[in-house]
């Protein structure tokens, strides 16, 4: 929706017509300007009259506002309009409407006089405004109470509620912001002149300074979030309802106001209890440190200095919260009635102070963590680990924290690194110590005569430059996706995958050219087969795996779908494992070549780089094997009817398969197994409802093929994750997030152990099974987000005796 202020034009025709209003005390005539497109919001001059005795009806002369052009004529068409609609005139269901106005648009309309929709609706006897007087003197305890409540609402806003339901319900904030002050001295809890006896006292001045800094902080938050390439409406409400949050005023103005307030409170002439005095000062200091940390102008190098000082003040605020006394009247939902609003009214959000402080602490901790990004080694794989780990933090980082990190990530200092970030990534997998990336290739100049073929080494450089250029956008898209909220991350990854799919097709051609050049130079054995496509493929498969794992994490799959989705995950990870295997082999070949040529240093370098690739290989191996083991146990659980399985009268297996595979169906090379193959994998013993008798024979024998395959997969998974753990975070290019990486790796190992327990439980339960008998166990699926899973995306069933 366009900014409504654009519709205003306060210099044009003003009409002075008579409107009648009535209220509880009797009716009065008021004369106002209502040429509706021409009124400066809430400031249009209007004339009310009231006789000194109890507002009897009075007619008063109108003051004509200056006019330009012809004044609109006002016609009362009530009677004829009504006649045209009603009676026998219009048919039931007949609409007289603008042909360009669709019913679809109409669903967004707010219904006036419906209390659920109309934010301006007053219940009978309800007044428009509260009679709370923001100039009434405050007790020191009340000052603390108001500050703490403001902080609670600020945090509620951070979690996604609009300002209209949170901070803008404060009468104090409302007074500071409306009517819009032209200068900071004008931003008071009153406007214009005021008699000395009404002038706010010290504590109100202190509250004002606190509120001003709070509002400026909101402005900074909005600026940071809007500065991102991409943010989601569902995450955060940037709407300020036509209020301007001191956008133009620099930070030092607010810091000065806070400093002055600290001085006033410190002043011994102010009679106030010592504990309360320091509680107020702590809140002012908190506000100051927090505002400094939010300052978007803060230079990258010193960002990390700003978050640690906030924390001790938060603790002090927490410790002294009970000193405060709430002032309920100072917050009112009625303020919504004056805010430009195209949405239904919503109640004030209820937030517990403790929850708000937790949110605040989390915000500070996440932002402080984000500042560590700038200390990472210039390595895109370290960046990716950091982004993924940050996005996986629990509780999920708030929109502001995610924006904060992306603002660091997209800082020119990071993006304009001296090395090409995508190329560094490619190099780590397929081009270590490779002649393709030999710097001398970039030093060659093309032959003067364009008819003479370019030297092959120059072609290496040109081919690589061109390809890296093409990779740029999809590469950044992956990073952008990693900065979204968890739900969107999964959806966005499916789009990013499509772009990488095209990159992979491009890579096939570039690889052919690279190999041709290598052949000309007689160094074919020094260049890996299909290097670029191998690299893209590894990245693309990783993303597909993540989409599936995120699906488990978000409870997208129903229990009887688990076997199919873990089967598919295992297939993807197996393919990635194969591609990584080729990288490892190439690396080994290169080492041997260097040794043969007595290039010992190069041999050592190449061999050193093996750790990263092998760690990736072990990771893929672990995922592939563990997913396979889970697929196995869920398949058995399905046959044993231990999973809820709806009868689904409107669906078929094939339709559900198609729905699940939708995002991957068009990928090249084809990643999705054909339906028949998929179904055969999930039903190795025939249909679930009528399995082959051999199922029971196999289940009874703990060393049958079905069980030994599961056992072997689990063992392979354990071994692989243990190897990953031995490599450690740094070798795996996750050194910047070592702690979280260790935790995740440990979580995978713990999941393996839990699955081992489940397998043993199930084996035991079926050791005497007959087709006619059931089993005396049930399967429990640990719920998401309840700390019942070692790693959220890996759902290890629990076998519980009945």
């Amino acid at each position: 929706m366009a900014d409504p202020s654009l519709l205003h034009n306060d210099a044009t025709a003003r009409d002075a017509d008579t409107l009648t209003a009535s209220n509880g005390t009797g009716s009065l005539h008021a004369h106002c300007c209502t040429s509706f497109l021409c009124i400066d919001e809430a400031l249009g001059p209007a004339f009310a009259s009231a006789d000194s005795s109890r507002f009897a009806q009075t007619s008063l002369p109108l003051r004509q506002a200056p006019r330009r052009g012809a004044p609109p004529q006002i016609h009362d068409v009530t009677e004829k309009f009504t006649r045209a609609c009603q009676g026998k005139s219009l048919d039931v269901g007949q609409l007289v409407k603008d042909e360009y106005f669709t019913l679809f648009e109409s669903i967004g309309a707010i219904e006036i006089m419906d209390p659920k929709m109309d934010s301006g609706f007053l219940q009978p006897g309800e007044t428009l405004e509260d009679d709370f007087d923001p100039l009434a003197p405050l007790l020191p305890q009340e000052l603390i109470g108001i500050m703490d409540q403001l902080l609670s609402y600020e945090m509620a806003w951070h979690t996604g509620y609009p300002l209209s339901q949170t901070l803008f319900t404060s009468v104090y904030i409302d007074r500071l912001l409306w009517p819009e002050p032209k200068t900071i001295p004008q931003a008071q809890f009153y406007r214009g002149d005021i008699s000395d006896d009404k002038r706010p006292g010290t504590l109100l001045d202190v509250l004002r300074a606190y509120c001003l800094a709070l509002i400026k902080g909101c402005d900074y938050v909005i600026a940071k979030i809007m500065a991102r390439d991409y943010f989601e409406e569902e995450d955060f409400a940037t709407h300020t309802y036509n209020r301007v949050l001191f956008v133009q005023v620099p930070i030092d103005v607010f810091l000065r106001e806070l400093d002055a307030s600290v001085e006033m409170v410190e002043d011994r002439d102010l009679e106030i209890d010592g504990g309360i005095r320091s509680a107020i000062i702590a809140r002012l200091q908190f506000r100051k440190s927090f505002l400094c940390a939010l300052d978007p102008e803060c230079p990258l190098e010193i960002l990390s200095n700003f978050w640690p000082p906030v924390l001790p003040y938060i603790d002090q605020v927490n410790d002294t919260h009970t000193l405060g006394k709430t002032v309920p009247g100072s917050f009112s939902t009625k303020i919504q009635r004056r805010l430009a609003s195209t949405v239904p009214p919503r109640p004030i959000v209820q937030v517990e102070f403790n929850d708000a402080l937790q949110t605040l602490k989390q915000l500070c901790a996440d932002c402080e963590e984000a500042t560590r990004f700038k200390d990472l080694p210039t390595d895109p794989l370290e960046y990716q680990s950091f982004l993924w780990t940050f996005a996986s933090r629990q509780p999920a980082p708030l929109t502001y924290s995610r924006s904060y990190l992306s603002n660091i990530l997209f800082d020119p200092y990071i993006l304009n690194a001296p090395v090409s970030l995508p190329l560094e990534d490619i190099k780590s997998f397929v081009f270590h110590e490779s002649p393709v990336l030999d710097p001398s290739n970039w030093a060659l100049s093309p032959p003067r005569n364009p008819l003479i073929p370019k030297p092959p080494r120059l072609q290496f450089a040109l081919l690589i430059d061109e390809y890296v250029e093409r990779v740029g956008q999809p590469y950044l898209d992956l990073w952008v996706a990693l900065g979204q909220n968890r739900c969107r991350l999964r959806r966005m990854l499916t789009h990013v995958i499509s772009a990488w799919d095209i990159l992979q097709q491009d890579a096939v051609f570039v690889d052919t050219d690279l190999i041709a050049c290598a052949f000309q130079l007689n160094i074919s054995e020094e260049v890996m087969d299909g290097p670029l496509q191998t690299w893209v493929y590894i990245k693309k498969l990783w993303m597909i795996e993540r989409v599936i794992i995120l699906g488990f994490e978000q409870d997208i799959y129903l229990p009887d779908e688990h076997s199919g989705m873990y089967y598919f995950l295992s297939l993807m990870a197996t393919k990635r494992k194969g591609a990584l295997q080729r990288c490892v082999e190439h690396n080994n070949d290169r080492t041997v070549q260097f040794l043969k040529g007595s290039r010992f240093e190069d041999a050592q370098n190449t061999s050193d780089k093996l750790s990263f690739i092998d760690s990736e290989l072990q990771q893929a191996t672990g995922i592939s094997a563990f997913a396979k083991a889970l697929y196995g146990i869920y398949t058995i659980a399905s046959y044993l009817r231990l999973l809820p399985s709806p009868n689904r009268p409107f669906s078929t297996e094939k339709l559900r398969y198609e729905l699940r595979m939708k995002s991957f169906l068009s990928l090249q090379p084809p990643e999705v197994p054909p339906f028949e193959e998929f179904q055969a994998a999930l039903q190795p013993y025939g249909t679930i409802s009528d399995p082959l008798p051999s199922l029971y024979d196999d289940l009874k024998q703990a060393d049958s093929k079905v069980w030994s395959e599961i056992d072997a997969s689990l063992k392979a998974a354990k071994d692989a994750f243990a190897k990953v753990k031995r490599y450690g975070a740094k070798e795996s290019k996750a050194g910047g997030v070592e702690q979280a990486w260790n935790k995740e790796t440990q979580g995978m190992l713990a999941s393996c152990i839990a699955l081992g327990v489940a397998i043993a439980g199930l084996k035991n339960a079926v050791k005497d099974i007959e087709p006619s008998s059931g089993v005396q166990v049930k399967v429990e699926i640990p719920p998401a987000g309840a700390d019942k899973r070692y790693v959220e995306g890996w759902i290890v069933p629990k076998i519980v005796k009945e």
Binding site: A30, C32, F36, E41, C85, L95, V96, G120
Partner: protein, 107 residues
Amino acid sequence: MDNTEATAYLSQFIGQPLRIHTSDGRVFGGQMKCTDKDRNIILALTYEYRAPSADVIRKAVQESGNPSAPVNWNSRYVGLVVIPGTHVTKIEFEDSTLSGQPGRVVV
């Protein structure tokens, strides 16, 4: 009025500025988009106007000593609204075309 006549009459107001007064004393100014048999009216680009409360007027009068002291009406943007026919107390058409101008709405 028969259906053809009624439709023609109401169609004239489509896209035109209307002010709708509601049973609670508010006024909504916006462009008419749609109406029906029940006189439910959809207005687009709408502003809500509300008379100042008696308290506010009393204060203004007290403070200025002037019994016809100017007091602001409250107005705000509310966008696209439906005003149910049962709450419509008055419909005004804001005509800014000159008399005799072609295309003029016949009120």
